[in-house]
Structures are given as C-alpha cells and as structure tokens.
Symmetry: C2
C-alpha cells in the first residue's frame, strides 16, 4: 500500500512539474491567456463562486503569487472573460452593419454570424458568459449589460427597419429580438463540438431558414392566415364556395399585379 | 454607536424569531415545500455549490437539525427541485398529445403550453433547473436527462409526423427541436414577471407565430424561394420577362387547382 501511495504521489508531483514547465515555457504575453482559459474551464465545471485562485494555481501547477503577477483578483479574471466573450460576439458585426443591403439580408448575415460566433468559441467561455453575470463587480456588470443591450438594439433596429419597409411581418420588435436571439444563444447548451453531426454552418443555415420562413409549409401558412382573418371577423360564417371564390379573386388580382409590374419595368 | 449596534442586533433577533414562527405555524406538509422554495432562491442567488444547508436554515430561522427532519441532504433538495420543475414542464402534455388533431395544431398547443409553463413558475426554479444539472447525484442526473430527452422526443415526433404529412417543411427534426425549444427555454433569462409589459399569453402567441411562419412577409418568402431555386440551377440566367411569365403560369396553375378542389368537394 505504501509503495502504491508513493507511486501515486510521485505521479502527481511529475504532473505538477510538467504543468509548471508548460506554463513557464509559454511566452509571457501568452501566460495571462493561459490563466484566463484555465479559470474559464474551472468556472464552468465548479461555478465561479466555488472556484478559488488556489484552484486556478493548482490547475496550472504554479503558485498563487505567480498568478497575482498577471491578474489582481478572481473578479478581474471574470471581467476579462466577459470582455473577451463580447469581443467574440461582436466579431464581424460592424462589417455586416456597414453593408449596403436590405434588412432581411442584413439580419440573415448577422444571425448566421451570431450562431457561428457562439459555436466556434471554446464552449466554456460561452457557458460562463451566459451564467455568471451576477458575479461581476457592480461597475463591470453595468458595462457588460450596456454592451449586451447594444447588441440587442442592433437586432431590434434591423427588425424595425424591415417592418417599416414591409419586408418583415408587423410585430413587436423587442419581443421578436428576445425570441430570435434566444434560439441562437441556446445553442451553447446542446452543441457538442466533438461528437456533433452538424457543422456550425449547417446549424446557422438551419436557424436562419426557420426564423425567416417558419416550420409550416407555405400552403399551410396561407390556410392559417385565411383562418385567422376569418376568426377575427367573428359571427360571419363563410361557406366553402365563398372560400374558393376568394382564392380565385386573389389569383386574378395577382395576374393583374404581374402585368402592372412588368409594364412599370 | 453601541445603542445603534444593539438596536440592529435586536432587529435581527426579532426577524429570526418571526421567520422561525412563520415556519412553525405552517402545516407539517407545507414545511418541506418551504424548505425547497427557500433553498431554490438561495441556489439561484448564490449558486448550488456555494450554498450550504446552514445558509438554508439561517434563511428559514430554524436549526439545521430541523431541516434534517424533512430532507436528508442538500443533494436531496436539488433532486426534489428538478422533479418538481419537470412536473411543471410536463404539465398538460398528455392531454395535448391525446387530442385528435393534426401535428401543426398539436405543436402549436405544446409550444404555447411550454412557454407558459416556464413563465408561470417561480423563475428561481427554472434558473436552477437550467443551470445546476451537473450538480445532481449521478443516478438523479441520468433520470433527469432521460426525462428531458423524453420531452425532446415528443417534439421531434410531432415534427416528423408533420413533415411526413407535408404540413411542415422538410428539415432535420432533431435540429429543429433544438432550435424551437431553445427559443422557448431562453424566456427564463429575460422575462421579468413584475415589470414585464408582456403577458405569458402574448409571449406564447408571439413565439408560436414566429416559429410557424417566420419573420419574413409571405411575398418576401416567395421571392426567397424563387431566388434560391434559381441559384441552385446555376449557370442558367433568367430574364425578367421569364420571371413574369413564370409567375403568370403559376397563377393559372393555381386557378386550375382551385377548380379541381371545388369539384372534388
């Protein structure tokens, strides 16, 4: 038993030395990122509040003093994680917003970018980003909230523009933003990068298609609209014959519209 | 200063006595729920791992021994929270599944029910439910995973049925389930019951409408489909005149179809 115990101990010491060596061989500029990445993994596994700087230093195989050389506190590490995560989330947004394209194309690009930005990151970072916000120091909390709100407003403004141009359905833009971003954000909960059978592109395309056109087939949607508009005019019963007649009228209206469009160039 | 200190101390003692009294006046059958609710709030605020049974007993103003009278451990409390949350999530699902209605109506009811089940619960419960899963004891973790998978499969099966009946667009049902439930689940992240300007019904309706028909207006969707199908037939350029002609042909096809439908009853 003693021999096994010693063997295990020696193995642990060897592991610690290897980790320490690993950290020391890194360029100084990369060491802070190594601390952040290690802390991020621990925060995700154990939760921010249950992780101490001792845990981080143990995981890195260095002393706590060595860590203090790069960051002043656990709070600072968390703030850095949030800043980096936001940088990832905002990546490419300016380029997309500056494009001279209609709001539907803009939203398509932005959402696709958003989903991929979440998936392509180390998922630990997004797990921490979406769950430890309340642990941030007051000032940082407000800063991060502002940035998140800024992102939401970008989406909301595109939706408003699309509605005013008659490209998007008329609906509450705030609620629409929550709904759309909710679907995209939730991806960090179920996406498994290693065993996943879907690529980031496939997921992004799937989401955007669903959000643009819904899960109902187009003919079903039309029936749905007709039924709803009928339900609104309560009390008035419509016969099947009337429905067919209406459909015919709509087709003829459409034919007239096509003629007009062609003539106007 | 001493007087103020004493005053504060007396106030704390009075609060503790009031809490204790509060707990004791409860019917025995309600006391366990009081423990669960108090723990749920603490888990949400401080995280599960950072909350001890001492914290729970302090919050309730009772001894830890009094708590052990009702639950054996912190793990048991967490397991009970998960079981109760799942009961809420599954509420009404059997009634909906047993209805003799087409898959689109079934999915509409199920999703609306899902959103409302999340919102109507104390949000603390859903916060814990969606974030502390990894803290469950191994056996309970697997049980909860099974139940969650069961719920996902219910949605997936309805989607498969809808696709096979030609009511839903053809798409990957698994990915579709993740996307749809993601939007619905995320509601616990932003919904504020007290200051919210949206009712649970409004949110549920909004989500289901968006998921069924998408954010693009119907005419935009048609343009999108045409463009996509054209892009697929790469190399072949289509003139504007040809587009107009195609639209006309489609209208005439539709008119013929309406005639046929009317004749067949």
């Amino acid at each position: 038993m003693i021999a096994r115990g010693n063997g295990k101990e020696q193995k642990l010491i060897a592991q610690k030395n290897a980790k320490q060596e690993n950290f020391r061989t890194l360029d100084k500029s990369l060491r802070i990122q190594k601390i952040i990445d290690t802390a991020t993994d621990l925060f995700r596994r154990k939760g921010y509040r249950s992780t101490s700087l001792d845990d981080v230093s143990r995981e890195l195989g260095v002393t706590k003093a060595a860590i203090y050389h790069y960051v002043s506190s656990k709070e600072e590490i968390l703030s850095i994680i949030y800043i980096q995560a936001l940088q990832h989330i905002f990546r490419n947004t300016n380029e997309i917003l500056n494009k001279d394209i209609p709001p539907n194309e803009k939203l398509r690009l932005l959402l696709s970018n958003h989903v991929k930005n979440i998936i392509i990151q180390p998922l630990s970072m997004m797990c921490v980003f979406f769950s430890e916000e309340n642990q941030l120091p007051e000032k940082e909390f407000r800063k991060i909230q502002n940035e998140k709100n800024k992102y939401n407003r970008i989406v909301e403004e595109i939706i408003k523009e699309g509605i005013s141009l008659g490209i998007f359905r008329k609906t509450d833009p705030k609620l629409q933003t929550f709904a759309i971003l909710g679907m995209c954000n939730w991806v960090y909960k179920w996406y498994k990068p290693k065993h996943g059978s879907f690529t980031p592109d496939q997921i992004a395309d799937h989401f955007v298609n669903l959000l643009e056109t819904g899960y109902l087939k187009c003919n079903q949607q039309k029936t749905q609209f007709l039924l709803e508009s009928e339900q609104q005019k309560k009390g008035k019963t419509v016969t099947k014959k009337e429905y067919y007649q209406r459909l015919r009228t709509q087709c003829i209206d459409m034919l007239n519209l096509i003629d007009k469009m062609e003539k106007s160039g």
